[in-house]
Structures are given as structure tokens and as C-alpha cells.
């Protein structure tokens, strides 16, 4: 725009700073938008190029392109010890960044104890706790094994997992079957009832689903998620539409490959569990994000994950590093009989959905969810718009009808988080802080700023 062009146009102003200037312009009839500006997070400087000469925007464009082109397909199932790479014989995978038994939160400990008894490594839960403390078990993050787990995120060797292959890039991701609501391992509940359910999932549900998927052939999860976003899901805290769509795809093959009794129990179980699709939504997100890991110079976030003690993020350019901070408490709505004092800090790998541009980032697609923040349908639109401030672009496949089919904000840029002070918003469930109790509520939480400040400092070091 040349200076003379300005002389011929009505003033359309952006005001950053003193509100009085906005008022003055508006009173003179000029159109003006006020920026809700805050100082950048501490340590921010403009970063455009790494010391080795890589243009960060170009690297991010490449990363974004890979995430968008990724096509996650549900291709099969298997037991974790057989299919998950690097799964040790006495290993338990957990949600979030690395953690020791000593620092593990209540629900994650409860789930570990349940898993040890489930595996038959100990007979009692006390014995399981002793074993966990003794160092006899290797604890590793799911994310170190191409795997994601909701809440406690516990995966032990004989648990069945879904196998998701990214058709475009050939990488494979894994997730367990969702257990449903009530007393379940992922919320730290353990006990004979919990284990009986897990055994049913291993012995009845898993074989039936495995046979079914072998019959249907690969199921396109990106397409399924995209459809569900048009049906009121956001892919993290609401999976009712996607679960329903999945049943529709599975049912005929299930009926042909299982007895009527088994088929009925499988369909009943999935129907009773609106979150059945969550684990697939997460594994699909993981599958799409992995090809961006290791792109030199890219400042996009590839993982956000919590273990109930720490919140950790990983960045494309620094694929081996975790940047962690204490996990925050979720601001939520409480189930009857519970309150904030019962809540465990934020937990689970499910924030991989936000990292992949759905969940909280797709809030505008899910007006039903927005009451969690006590707001209106308009607020859902605003949350998605706000997240667009910190992303490198938008997903081409995941679109939102209420925003005229705009794509969901995708590719959290650490630099933009630092500059704007806008922290990623996550839509999540809340676990009881004590093992064995379960879900106490659901709500919204922001990723801690310290994760981004540390990640930024590491990126900055690459540029100096």
C-alpha cells in the first residue's frame, strides 16, 4: 500500500494500547479494532532463522503440510507386547512426560497397581505398590513408544491396542480400547471389578473387534473425525458422534464375524460409552503429528501431555526433549458430591487432540461442550478464534460449519504463544486425586506458560 492510497481510504484502524485512543477514533466515526495486547512471555525475542540458516516459517510450513497430509487409518489390533515397538516384558507405559513412581500422582499410581495385578506380576494391590516402588518395573511415557493413553494412560504388555497407520508417511501409532465410564483404570480405579472389565475387554471385546477390522479393512479416522466435527463433536471431550459413526461402520462386519451374543455385548458396550472413540481420536492425532517431529528449525508443538504431576510439551525441532512444568488444576464443573478439593492436577495424553487442531481448538464445532466454561455458543466460536492466534495455520480436512467451514486452528507455534501470551486451551476430564475413585468432573485448562518459556529458550539457543 502506498502512502497516497491511505489518503483515499476511510481510516480502518487497529489500536494497540491506550483505550482512550480507541474511544477517540470511534467518536470521530472511524472504524477501529482494539487489540487485547499483553506483554510477551518472559524471554521473548523475534526468531526468524536458526544459526544454521533455516527459515523458521518455512520449516513450520513444512511441518504443517505434513500434519495436514497425514491420513491415519485404523488397520488392526494386537497385544501391546507384540505390536508396540520397544515394549519391554516388565514395562508399563504411562501418560505424560517421564516420571518416577515416587513422583506419580494418586490416580496414576492406582492404575499402575491395577495393571500389575492384571498382568499377574503381583497377587495383591499392596504387593503391586511394593513392586512398583522396588524398581522392578520400567516406567516409560507412552509417547516414547508411538502410543497415547487417556488420563493415567497406563498400557501394560498384555493389553490389546488399536494399530493406526498413517497412510501418507507410513508411521504407526497405538492406543488402548476405551474402558467406558464409572470405576475404570484410566481414572486410577483398581479392584477386582476393574480388572474383570479389563479381562473382558481383552478376552471378548478385543478378539471381536480385531476380527471385525480385518473384515472391514482399514477405517479412515481422519474422515471419521472430520464428519464428527460437523455433528457436534470436538474430538476430545465429546465423542458421541464419532462413536456412533464408528458403530455404523463396524456393525455389519461384526455381525458376520462374531456370534450374535458377542456382537450384542460389543455393540451394547460401545453404545454405553460416548468416549469409545476418544482413544482412536487420540491415536489418529498422534499419527498425524509424528511426521512433523524432527523437522529442523520448526517451532511447532508436536506433543502436549500430562502425567498428573507434570505437564510436558515437545517441539518439532527438538524431538528428544521434554519441556515440563507442574500440571495445573482444571477449572471445571463437578459431578455430584465432588468439588475442586477432590481434583487431581491435569492428567492424560488426550491433549494430543488439541495439538492436532481438534479438542479445545475445535470448540466452535461443539456448542454442546461450551457450557463447561459457563458461556454461550458465541463463546465456543471465540475460543476457536483465540486459538487461531497461536497456530501456524488451519487444518484443511477438519472444518467448522459455524465458522463458514473454516479449518480448525492447527500447529501451535511456540513463538506465537510467547508473543501473544495466549496459552493453548484444553478441554478435559478431571480425575479424583486419590487412587481408585475415578472421574469427578470435566472442564477447561490452559497449558502452563513455563513449558513454552523453556521450549522457547531452547529454540532461541538454536538461533544464536
Amino acid at each position: 500500500m502506498a502512502i497516497n492510497d491511505l489518503f483515499r481510504q476511510p481510516i480502518r484502524a487497529i489500536n494497540v494500547g491506550l483505550e482512550a485512543f480507541r474511544e477517540s477514533l470511534a467518536s470521530q466515526g472511524a472504524e477501529v479494532v482494539q487489540v487485547d495486547w499483553r506483554p510477551p512471555l518472559s524471554g521473548f525475542v523475534a526468531l526468524t532463522r536458526t544459526a544454521s540458516g533455516i527459515d523458521i516459517d518455512a520449516a513450520n510450513a513444512e511441518a504443517l503440510g505434513r500434519i495436514i497430509r497425514g491420513r491415519p487409518l485404523l488397520v488392526g489390533m494386537g497385544l501391546a507386547r507384540r505390536v508396540v515397538p520397544g515394549m519391554g516384558a516388565r514395562m508399563i507405559l504411562h501418560a505424560g512426560p517421564p516420571i518416577t513412581w515416587e513422583r506419580m500422582c494418586g490416580p496414576q499410581r492406582g492404575a499402575v497397581m491395577g495393571a500389575i495385578v492384571y498382568e499377574g506380576w503381583a497377587d495383591t494391590y499392596e504387593g503391586a505398590a511394593e513392586m512398583a516402588a522396588s524398581g522392578a518395573i520400567a516406567f516409560e511415557p507412552c509417547h516414547h513408544h508411538h502410543t497415547v493413553g487417556p488420563m493415567a494412560g497406563i498400557v501394560s504388555p498384555s493389553m490389546p491396542v488399536f494399530v493406526i497407520r498413517n497412510e501418507t508417511f507410513g508411521n504407526t501409532s497405538f492406543a488402548t480400547q476405551n474402558e467406558g465410564l464409572g470405576r475404570v483404570l484410566r481414572y486410577g480405579a483398581y479392584g477386582d471389578d476393574v480388572l474383570a472389565h479389563l479381562r473382558w475387554m481383552r478376552d471378548d471385546l478385543y478378539p471381536a473387534l480385531r476380527r471385525t477390522i480385518a473384515k472391514t479393512g482399514p477405517i479412515d479416522l481422519r474422515s471419521l473425525t472430520a464428519q464428527a466435527l460437523h455433528m457436534g463433536d470436538e474430538g476430545h471431550n465429546r465423542n458421541r458422534a464419532a462413536t456412533s459413526l464408528l458403530i455404523r461402520q463396524l456393525a455389519p462386519a461384526l455381525l458376520r464375524t462374531s456370534t450374535k451374543r458377542v456382537a450384542e455385548s460389543v455393540l451394547r458396550f460401545i453404545d454405553s460409552n460416548d468416549h469409545f472413540y476418544l482413544n482412536l481420536s487420540m491415536a489418529a492425532a498422534k499419527s498425524m503429528l509424528e511426521p512433523a517431529e524432527g523437522i529442523e528449525g520448526s517451532s511447532l508443538v508436536t506433543v502436549m501431555a500430562r502425567n498428573g504431576t507434570d505437564f510436558g510439551i515437545r517441539v518439532a525441532a527438538l524431538p528428544a526433549q521434554w519441556f515440563t512444568a507442574p500440571a495445573p488444576i482444571v477449572d471445571g464443573m463437578w459431578l455430584p458430591g465432588f468439588s475442586a478439593s477432590d481434583a487431581n492436577p491435569d492428567i492424560g495424553d488426550s491433549s494430543i487432540t488439541e495439538t492436532a487442531g481438534i479438542g479445545g481448538f475445535a470448540m466452535a464445532a461443539s456448542p454442546a461442550i461450551v457450557r463447561f466454561v459457563g458461556g454461550t455458543a458465541k463463546l465456543a466460536l471465540n475460543v476457536t478464534r483465540e486459538m487461531a492466534e497461536i497456530t501456524a495455520g488451519r487444518h484443511e480436512a477438519f472444518t467448522i460449519p459455524a465458522l463458514d467451514f473454516q479449518g480448525t486452528p492447527l500447529g501451535i507455534d511456540v513463538r506465537k504463544v510467547m508473543l501473544s501470551g495466549v496459552l493453548p486451551l484444553i478441554n478435559t476430564g478431571i480425575a479424583h486425586k486419590d487412587p481408585g475413585i475415578g472421574m469427578v468432573g470435566a472442564g477447561l485448562v490452559r497449558a502452563p506458560r513455563a513449558c513454552f518459556e523453556q521450549a522457547f529458550a531452547a529454540l532461541r539457543a538454536l538461533c544464536e
Partner: protein, 536 residues
């Protein structure tokens, strides 16, 4: 504790709405626990655990809605259930969705994306963040009005270089005012715009108050402006090289509405001055140059019109724009000065022995500078002390205490650290009025009063009150001081020029229309005093 339950058959609500309604019930008096859930087995399990499951709930199917509450009394329980049912009805008919406030964008880039064809960004955030915000604005393709001060020089050069590449304007840093397409930015006055107003004067100024003074004087003469662009005070330094003044000048030269151009600055670096003059000569459009304090012969190049004061620059430009003769303007100002000289004779008589010094208390930096330039010319042997001196040797060691003739700029950093600019908050100047009045050597207390958008709502009234108090002090000592002021503003300004001038005249202040005129009156008076005492 009393438990009460209602079941509504075949009613479906999403669980989040229900959670919220239960949450609301918990805030009601006497309510200990509450649940509003669909009657699924899982939810019944939750009710059992919370000891809220009653026989009535047990009959509910997954298609039924259960409302249940535990409260201190039956009445409170029923009231809570009534409340929940009201909320349920309301939840289906909420109309406030579209009225929820739009979230404001958090960055300029986001604002520019959302606000189609934004063309200007105003920035007034703290100085060390301002450059990054300005880069974002330029990258988004908008011109920039950078009000923030304390922006490092290196950043200013970087911003203006980038702006030049993109054909954009960076007004500032430390730009106090501008008027673009008739819209006032920052501290500007309500002045007529051309077209439709006659005239068509375009202004580029490296001085905020200089720009205000010239636009107000043009307004007083009924002449409209096209554009008034502030470049920030450092634009004409050797380091910045006058980038924005030259670019703006070129834009005004080809702007069809602009008939005359005025350039305003303190004396630029020599090579910059040459570059600006060269650019001014590149077009036949008349160009009035007011480089305050520069030797007029340095500017007197055929093709440009030099003006020593802001007042003269405005008067000449107005005359040229209306097709008149600029020489006539110089003559009429000379005659006006003669009148001021006789007025000074009369004022001399009101001063007592020992009252010999000028005390100028300025809110506008350019007025402070112009006054020093004029007084130096009128009182060749005298020193004029200042915290922003024209002559380096005349710097006040302590800006809060006057010495001899003093012209103090109360808008300088030492006075504005942690407090508002004197145009917004006159407290400091009002105190200083009393301080100067107490000094038996003070002859003249001199004020500039600046009106316009964004400044104090009644600056003259505030000053008048301080003056009245000072006169009280003086009366006790049997002295008087001559108060001289000028008001920079227009009758269309929110404060109204006429009203403001009258406030000052009411307390005996001699009010003149321009800073140059007011300073001349002071100068003539000081010349009379010097005749008594001899030059220092």
C-alpha cells in the same frame, strides 16, 4: 437434611447443561448437594455414591431426567428444584448467544486478519515492546502511528527502513499527533479538513505541538488541511535521515487535494536538511519550511518559502493556499508586533524593582523551543536557561529550580517518570506557578495551554485556579507578576478555544493567539526591563 427428587419423563438435555444447572443449585441457600442427570445406570451409580438416590429416581429410564437435591429444609429443597426447572426451560430458549462479546484479538496480526482492509495501526504500548508490535503491523500491511516513546534509535531505523520497502508510513516513535483523512490521532485538535474547507494545506512535522500549533492557526484563519503527518522528533537526525519526512513530502506533492505543503522541525542534521530541501524542490507545489532556530538563509533556496516561527509558517501557507500574497502576511505581522511593543510599555509599569526574569512553564516541547529561539533573537546578550536548551551551555542543573530567564519543558522525561504528561495532568505546573510567584525576581510567568482530543478537559480553568492562588500570595507581599499565555486549540475542540481563553483573561492573564505573539510580548517587556538593569 432432606432429600427431594423429581423425575421428568422423556426429556433430554445434554450433560453439560445439566452439570451447570446442578452447579447453580449448589449456590442456593441451604443446599448441600444436588444432581441433575439423565437416568442412565452409570448416573444412578453416581447418585448412589453421593447418597442422593431415592426410590423415585430408581424408576427413571435413560430417557428420563432426574433432578435431586439434599438441603437443610424441605422448603429449600423444593425451591432449588423449582429453580432448576426454570433454568431447564430457559436453557432451551436462550437468546443471548449472539450478544456475547466478541473476544478481542491478542495480536496485531490476528486483528489484521479479522479486520479486513485495516490500514492503520496505533501503538501506545511500553517503549521496549513497541518496535516488535510495529513490525507486526507493517508486516500486516498497515501504516503505523507509534505514540510510544523510549523506542531505541536502532529500532526506529529498522522500522522506517522496513516501512519504506513496503511503501508504508511510520509516524513516530514518540508521535504525539497526526490528522489523517480528517481523523485525529493522538493529541490532535478539531480542525477543518480540505476538501470541503478551502485551502488544502498538507503538513509534515517532526514535532507534535508544532503540528498542533500550525493546524490550529490555519483553522483560525479559516483554512483547511488535507493531511497532517507527524514523523517523530528524531526523523531528521543524521541517523534516521529524514526517511518519513521525505516520503510524506513526496506523497503530499502528488496528492491532488494538497495545494501547499508545510514542513516543521527543529534544525535537521545538515545533510538531512539538504536532502529535504532537494525533495521539496522536486515539485512545483509551494512548500513552506519552518526549521525552528535554523538560520533562515540556510533555507532560503529559490522555490521554498522559509518561515522562522510556527505562526508565520501557518500564516504564509494560508495566504498562498487562498491565492493571496505572502509578503502581505509578513507586513501585517510586523504591524502586530509594533502593537505588542506598546502593550509591553504599559505592562512594564506594573512591575516593581528587582522583578526582572522570564519564567516559562511549558507543556509543549516545541513551544518551549520556539520561545527560546525568539527570546535569543530579541535579547542577544541574555542567557535563557532550560532543561531542553537551545544552547547547550544553558542547561539547568536542576530542572525543578529556575535560574535567571528560564523556559522549562514540563513534558520532558525528568517530569513524566511515573506521572502523566502535563497536558493530561497539570498538577506539577500548577505547583510550579506558585513557586515562581514566590521568587521576588520573577517578572513574567508564561504558559502554553494545549487543547484537543485526549488532553485535560479544562486545562485553562485548572491553570487559572493556580494563578488566582499565586496572586493571593503576591498580594500579601504587595507585588504583581505579569502572566502571559497562549492557548493552542480551536472552537471546535472539546474544551472550546474561546471559553478557555476567557478563563485565563478572567484572572488577568494576557492571552495572545500564538506562541510567537505571546513570546514577542514577553520579549519586548524584557527589553524594557533590560534597559533599566543593563544586559547581564
Amino acid at each position: 437434611m432432606i432429600c427431594k427428587t423429581r423425575v421428568r419423563r422423556g426429556e433430554y438435555f445434554d450433560s453439560v447443561t445439566l452439570l451447570q444447572i446442578a452447579q447453580d443449585m449448589l449456590r442456593l441457600p441451604g443446599v448441600a448437594d444436588a444432581a441433575v442427570v439423565m437416568g442412565t445406570p452409570a448416573n444412578k451409580g453416581i447418585l448412589t455414591n453421593a447418597e442422593l438416590l431415592e426410590p423415585a429416581s430408581d424408576t427413571a429410564t435413560p430417557d428420563d431426567l432426574i433432578l435431586t437435591v439434599r438441603a437443610e429444609s424441605a422448603d429449600q429443597a423444593e425451591a432449588a428444584l423449582d429453580h432448576a426447572e426454570t433454568e431447564l426451560r430457559a436453557s432451551g430458549t436462550r437468546q443471548d448467544g449472539d450478544d456475547a462479546p466478541e473476544v478481542r484479538p491478542r495480536t496485531v496480526a490476528a486483528a489484521a486478519k479479522r479486520f479486513d482492509q485495516a490500514n492503520l495501526t496505533l501503538i501506545s504500548v511500553a517503549g521496549h515492546f513497541a518496535a516488535d508490535v510495529a513490525v507486526e503491523a507493517l508486516e500486516s500491511g498497515t501504516h503505523v502511528f507509534l505514540f510510544s516513546d523510549n523506542v531505541p534509535l536502532a529500532d526506529e531505523i529498522r522500522l522506517k527502513t522496513l516501512a519504506r520497502e513496503k511503501g508504508l508510513l511510520v509516524m513516530g516513535p514518540d508521535a504525539g499527533t497526526a490528522i489523517v483523512n480528517g481523523v485525529a490521532l493522538g493529541f490532535a485538535n478539531a480542525v477543518p479538513h480540505s476538501p470541503p474547507a478551502p485551502g488544502g494545506v498538507g503538513i509534515v512535522a517532526a514535532s507534535g505541538t508544532g503540528l498542533q500549533a500550525v493546524t490550529c492557526e490555519l483553522a483560525r484563519r479559516g483554512v483547511g488541511i488535507t493531511q497532517a503527518i507527524g514523523t517523530g522528533g528524531r526523523d531528521l537526525s543524521a541517523a534516521v535521515g529524514g526517511m518519513m519526512m521525505v516520503d510524506s513530502l513526496k506523497a503530499l506533492q502528488i496528492d491532488p487535494d494538497t495545494r501547499v505543503i508545510i514542513l516543521i522541525s527543529k534544525p535537521p542534521a545538515k545533510e538531512v536538511a539538504e536532502h529535504v530541501l532537494e525533495s521539496a524542490l522536486a515539485s512545483h507545489k509551494p512548500c513552506v519550511i519552518c526549521f525552528l532556530g535554523a538560520r533562515q538563509k540556510d533555507i532560503a533556496t529559490p522555490g521554498v518559502i522559509p518561515a522562522a516561527t510556527l505562526e508565520l509558517a501557518a500564516a504564509i501557507a494560508a495566504e498562498v493556499a487562498l491565492g493571496g500574497d505572502p509578503e502581505g502576511v509578513r507586513k501585517s505581522l510586523k504591524k502586530r508586533n509594533k502593537d505588542l511593543r506598546s502593550q509591553a510599555y504599559k505592562l512594564r509599569a506594573t512591575l516593581g524593582e528587582g522583578q526582572r526574569y522570564f519564567r516559562g512553564l511549558f507543556s509543549g516541547g516545541t513551544f518551549c523551543y520556539e520561545t527560546q529561539v525568539i527570546l535569543h533573537r530579541m535579547l542577544p546578550g541574555d542567557r535563557i536557561y532550560s532543561n531542553a536548551p537551545v544552547n547547550h551551555d544553558d542547561r539547568l542543573s536542576d530542572a525543578s529550580v529556575s535560574l535567571g530567564h528560564t523556559a522549562v519543558d514540563l513534558g520532558e522525561d525528568e517530569f513524566t517518570q511515573g506521572r502523566l504528561h502535563p497536558m493530561l495532568d497539570p498538577t506539577l505546573r500548577n505547583r510550579r506557578i506558585a513557586q515562581e510567584a514566590r521568587d521576588p525576581e520573577t517578572a513574567i510567568i508564561y504558559l502554553d495551554v494545549v487543547l484537543g482530543y485526549g488532553v485535560h478537559p479544562d486545562p485553562a480553568g485548572s491553570a487559572a485556579e493556580a494563578i488566582r492562588e499565586a496572586q493571593g500570595l503576591l498580594a500579601v507581599e504587595g507585588r504583581t507578576v505579569v502572566f502571559i499565555a497562549h492557548v493552542c486549540g480551536t472552537n471546535e475542540d472539546p474544551q472550546n478555544l474561546k471559553v478557555q481563553e476567557a478563563r485565563l483573561r478572567d484572572v488577568g492573564v494576557v492571552v495572545l493567539p500564538t506562541n510567537a505573539a505571546a513570546t514577542r510580548l514577553a520579549g519586548y517587556l524584557l527589553q524594557r526591563i533590560d534597559e533599566t538593569y543593563g544586559n547581564q
